[in-house]
Symmetry: C2
């Protein structure tokens, strides 16, 4: 009756913003079960490895990205008996928020990986559910943390940051009020002193992420 052992995997919900939409890194399965279906990237935890370390390793293997560039946190753990037909598998899911990677994914594992919209349906296993949980976590965290900056490059404009909120929340925000909110919130962003002209119009100041870990008061969804 007691389950003595189970396989343990770490799967990643890697989110980024590309072409104005929220996208997730998925891999095409090359073997049964769920052959040729999209799945979250992931793999087995090593013998001498902590769960966080496994997630950091998988992130590097899949994207070539150092975990310090964006944000990585444990999401939740999934272990329903029938979720993998090959046997009992416990999956610890991690959520990462990443900037649009300038370098193409170069690693060997990433050859078959692709950025897809987060509403991609019919993923392998229970990955639909895991992805939905990850997206909802990201949406909620933008409200009361400065994590939206994890989607931006090292230096970004207020409009870039507003684009993150608008994309993740699927809403439009008032540019004027958003600007004030972000620049006056203690520790959210810091001016770099530089500025850029993106398309046309007045040049925008560049910012980098500030030291705050919580937004006080929060930036609530409309």
């Amino acid at each position: 009756m007691t389950l003595n052992v189970a396989a343990v995997t770490v799967d990643l919900v890697l989110l980024t913003i590309r072409q104005g939409t929220l996208q997730v890194l998925l891999v095409r399965r090359g073997i049964e079960p769920y052959l040729s279906r999209w799945a979250l990237p992931g793999g087995f935890v090593h013998d001498d490895e902590d769960l966080d370390a496994a997630a950091i390793r998988e992130l590097r293997e899949e994207t070539g990205v150092d975990s310090s560039a964006g944000h990585l946190e444990q999401l939740a753990t999934y272990g329903a008996p029938g979720r993998d037909p090959r046997g009992r598998v416990i999956t610890v899911a991690y959520l990462a928020l990443l900037p649009d990677l300038p370098a193409p994914v170069a690693g060997s594992d990433a050859a078959h990986a692709e950025w897809r919209p987060v509403d991609e349906p019919e993923l392998a296993f229970d990955h639909d559910r895991i992805l939905a949980d990850g997206v909802e976590r990201a949406r909620a965290k933008l409200e009361y943390t400065p994590l939206a900056t994890a989607f931006c490059a090292r230096e970004f404009t207020v409009a870039d940051l507003r684009g993150v909120y608008e994309t993740v929340w699927r809403t439009k925000l008032d540019p004027r009020n958003f600007h004030r909110k972000v620049t006056t919130a203690e520790g959210f962003v810091e001016p770099t002193g530089h500025s850029v002209t993106r398309d046309r119009g007045r040049p925008a100041q560049l910012f980098r992420r500030g030291p705050a870990t919580l937004l006080h008061p929060p930036l609530l969804r409309p």
Copy 2:
């Protein structure tokens, strides 16, 4: 190198409020390792059992309490290689918020279980860390959800609910403003029509928890 299998346990952080302090249910270990140290209650996941189901079962075994009385949610998963000296153990921790149980814990497993203050130090394994994570989650969730009601009996006064906030947050709140906030927040509490006189003073109205799952706007920590 690859870890093929690990033991999987579900451990519970059961929080309640007794005698005006936040307390956690702990058990004295009867075997090595960590013999006679306090530990979080928990046990192995069964062969045909989902993780949530295992948590609900453990809750019933330890407290005799039905999970519908309070609140139960997954907290986080812990799997550092050396955390259990007997081998690789992955622990999925659950957090429960419970009312002060009127019936004594009757189950057989609960014989050695005891309510202890949440600052109890030197727990077995990495249970200090798990407990701290659970307490912090509870503190944060009181801000933006109506979960404080999970610590209360089915019917409660506004003062009871305020006591929950004051105990969990270790702060004093203004009774007048708190009363207004709680009774005007949409769906937080519903009047039952009854009232009680607790000690002396004017009788207080009784309420039950409302249908809301989020507090909008939140009740922020001072």
